[in-house]
Symmetry: none
Subunit: 213 residues, 4 copies
DNA sequence: CATGAATGAGAATTCATTCAT
DNA sequence: GATGAATGAATTCTCATTCAT
């Protein structure tokens, strides 16, 4: 509701429209970004998909960049709500990993496109100041997972013979790359996928020798 | 694996120069592609890095596309030499997985940039007929790994309670994403990384209950 | 001096609103045009300043162009009322110049923005048929000033050793460019500024030799 | 001559071409800018005038902005060479004014288009940090002229009854607006125009009373 | 009277590619 | 083998304008 003399210099266009329309458009954009890659996606393509002309998108958003920005920051905000809840619950290392993995697959389920974009583009985007929060998030992320692993090694829950940073990367990648193949309509629920992933990660895919015997 | 030469459409230019120069230039290009992404990389940038002007690259290559083509096909050719040797060795499922993972990390070590490019761009490139071999390779790849897993489940080596396609994806991603963080000068040799990965994947990161006791 | 209404091409929109609102909006528009330049001024910016949305301006005006049109024609209409009165008064050359300069500064005081716009944009706008009156006005203007100068040279009031067209341009520019720095709240009244300008122009800024002696 | 590894990140294109070609293109651009105004001039128009495609201009210049930048800064550099020489000559106030006016008309003669651009666009461009030198130059300019006037008033050369800032603006505008009508092929040489301007400014256009008698 | 959403015609700019030298 | 200059198509973004509500 612009009042007389309100000169919104910075954001001439953005944040005008109704939140619902924005969300619709962002969902479309996210889908296309995820499929084609951010750079390879033209604004025109998004507009086509939304049934409007390329220029019309600029009524809703400042730029292509601000679209990814909003897609990623929205996703990360929600992710951290979930993660923070898990981390605040005071669970043991094994249960924390379990809960984080489960939470992650729930996020992948809810924000598949955003996660895929994050995976592919984060490194490059993070170079721009505007996307500094990506780096921040990554740091927090590392702290959460690595810390849990360290706790687990300390209390004997996790193996001590593995390079812990390697283990961290293994876990991290293992979970998130799933966004590249995950389909919401697929056979398994995110919880079921999470259950199996946790099981693989914690206990391995091999049948233990003493069982096999 | 089709090699990417045979394409001298109009000009008698491409594929002229000495093979060594080509390889040098491709190495440079691969590095830049890996770092910035294929789309985001300008021919000019590659030329800059090579100490020449953008136009000059066209003496050596037909197009930007033919550069990735050659980078990826060279990599895949080598990869399959290694894989085929492993698969032909008649090993048991556990040993085959071990060998494939090890071979994979060796390839990551040798072709880090190419692997990173493959990870990021394969899906999109594969849409073009020229890159049909990417899809072929992926199919062969799946057959090799999935087959090994199935063999393992059948003979009791691997757990039967896991969705096998899930396991396959888990394994595949787990190994290859490593290219995104792997640095040849890093602490661990590719063989050491492979050893730890295999150990995690097969036996899990948790200390088994009966040991912990 | 054609007035810029009579243009309701398609819509019955323009020239609807109350004349006061129009004048308010035109004053705002003139200010922005003067400050940023006609081309660089967006309709949105004017609307912002007026506390409405860009589209809403089109209830009041046919187009951006019709805004400048109305601003300039209104100004010129008033200018010529003043000038015509001076020219009809039958004054001598010196007194006529004096009166014209004074009248000009009064117009600058009243229509600072319009004058500034005129100075900057007239040449370009005049190329369009719609703004033909700008050229007409300029011709009339030249006739009035140049004629007065010629009269003055003829009767010995003004120096005969100067190129008269040069003198004309000198005078014309000298007066009107003042619009670019004039501020109504400034130290001097328009009449005082005019007095000093006339004095400079007629008698020069140097102290005459025989006085200095 | 780019050497291997020379990554000119900031200026990917500009400053490549031979200086002569640059100068040619800048001369063309200046002409168009002067005639149509900076904003109203499209890059395409400049390219048309130069007999090339719009995109081709970007081989020579980074942007439309960098074209005006180079045009203006080149002009100002030369202007100050001339001005500085005058100011260093240790002339009296009257002679200094004379010399500055003459130098100014010489610059108008040499850089007519640049001067016209400066007149029309300086205020707006100066808002951008990149064009900070415009403000600097203006300040120096004011200091030079105003200082000379003050010296003249102090030593009795110039009238003391005039507002000195008004006089300064009068002089400044009077000289530079001439760029808007000056044509190199015109009747008068820049020196002749300067002579007449100086005469008008110093001694006025009126015949002194005691002479007229 | 005004808003919200869109249109559509450019605008500047980028970049792979070509080619004469 | 490489340079310098250009092409031309595509891309992001801007903005005056329209119009149903």
């Amino acid at each position: 509701m612009p009042t007389a003399k309100s000169k919104q210099k910075k954001t001439p266009t953005a944040a005008n429209a109704s939140p619902e329309r924005r969300r619709e458009l962002l969902a479309i954009a996210a889908e296309v970004f995820a499929e084609q890659g951010y750079n390879a996606t033209t604004v025109r393509r998004i507009a086509d998909e939304a049934g409007m002309l390329a220029g019309s998108l600029y009524y809703h958003f400042d730029s292509k960049e601000s679209m990814v920005d909003e897609i990623l920051s929205t996703f990360l905000t929600e992710l951290w709500e979930g993660y923070d809840a898990v981390l605040a619950a005071g669970l043991g290392p094994r249960e924390t990993i379990d809960a984080l993995v489960t939470e992650s697959f729930r996020e992948i389920d809810r924000h598949r496109a955003a996660v895929a974009i994050y995976q592919k583009e984060a490194r490059q985007l993070a170079a721009q100041p505007r996307f500094g929060y990506l780096t921040d998030s990554q740091r927090k992320f590392e702290k959460a997972w690595l810390g849990t692993l360290e706790r687990g090694v300390a209390d004997g829950t996790f193996r001590a013979d593995l390079d812990i940073r390697l283990t961290y990367r293994f876990l991290r990648d293992t979970v998130w790359v799933a966004a590249s193949w995950y389909r919401p309509e697929g056979r398994h629920s995110p919880e079921e996928i999470a259950r199996q992933y946790v099981s693989m990660v914690l206990d391995g895919i091999a049948v233990p020798a003493e069982v096999r015997r």
